[in-house]
Amino acid sequence: MTILTFTIVVWAISALAGFLGALTGLGGGVIVVPALTLAMGVDLKYAIGASLVSVIATSSGAAAAYVREGYSNVRIGMFLEIATTIGAVIGAGLATHISTPIIAIIFGLVLLQSAWQSVFNTSGEHPYSLECDKWGARLRLGGDYPLNGNRQKYGVCNVPAGLSMMFGAGALSGLLGIGSGAVKVIAMDRTMRIPFKVSSTTSNFMIGVTAAASAAVYLSRGYIDPRVAMPVMLGVLAGAFLGTKVLVHAPVRTLRLVFAVVILLLAIEMIFSGATGRV
């Protein structure tokens, strides 16, 4: 394969991943990394480095739009970033010491979980309690968000548990080159009982900061190759941009199902490749 063909094919795969990732809210990394590894034969760590860069591009590129909606909470995001960035640096450090087949298997397991979550995610609105954790109050994490024309106040629960889940999300992000937005949303929505829309938009802001913490480590270790990262970044960025434009009209339920089937197949393939040492 020539460089020109490689660039075009990787750009197209990344654009599709960015598009689906934006529509489903799960991010493009979970598709880009296995697709590059399995279909294009790219070394897993090159794929992880390239994906991290595209995670930053989508997070920073969409930040303004999310803030304007008035949902994201910068205090919650910043406080939890302490855990995700430290986790990410450790995860990226581990990635250089863990063998590629093992990383492929861990990646497959995370994909299985994402597939499960994207089908059975019934994140209903739960009743808010204004104060249920002394940490939430002390750190002034609570806020308000637009609901039915008013601004609904909310408090934040289970801060220590949420913080430890965020550490795990950061470590996965650094190890696998994904935004791990899914884990972040679970930690905020389910564990800390933060309203879903606040959780998902705050997560978008957090994934870029988390990815930046590990991207620097990958860069210095030589895992960010400009020839691979270039088509991935430009493709994901174009796809995500298009995805946010059509978001309003998309049949989200059907899309999540399609997305789940795609990542389920990728999960099986990743675990199989890892177990047989083909990556």
Binding site: R75, A216, L219, S220, R227, M230
Partner: protein, 121 residues
């Protein structure tokens, strides 16, 4: 300035940063493809990137010489800098609100990011 106005300002700044980074990567990509389009693509096994593309100073130097891979890498470095700039601006924003607790919290995050960037590269 309240949290929200500051956030929108920062959000717009980030998007500008992403567009500039994307522009630099695109220019580098065009140079790169013009010279290397028919070369063989093989990324199957990891070969250590040449040291000129792994540290901040040398990336900036090769980008300044309009080396195509150096330009792409410089664009990627700009992109990695956007979330870091975002946290740095949050420190300033919280300081303007005289919110000492969150100046401290965002400074810790900034310190982790800078440690990772400077210690690694």
């Amino acid at each position: 300035m309240d949290d929200r106005r500051l956030e929108i300002f920062i959000g717009n700044l980030l998007r500008t940063g992403v567009l500039i980074a994307g522009g630099v990567v695109t220019v580098g990509a065009l140079f790169f493809l013009a010279h290397n389009y028919s070369a063989r693509a093989d990324f199957h096994t990891f070969a250590m990137e040449s040291s000129s593309l792994r540290s901040m100073q040398s990336i900036a130097r090769s980008a300044a010489h309009l080396d195509s891979m150096g330009l792409i890498q410089f664009g990627l470095l700009l992109l990695i800098a956007t979330p870091i700039a975002r946290v740095a601006l949050a420190v300033v924003g919280f300081a303007m609100e005289r919110d000492r607790l969150y100046v401290a919290i965002s400074s810790i995050v900034l310190a982790v990011l800078l440690f990772s960037l400077l210690h690694a590269t």
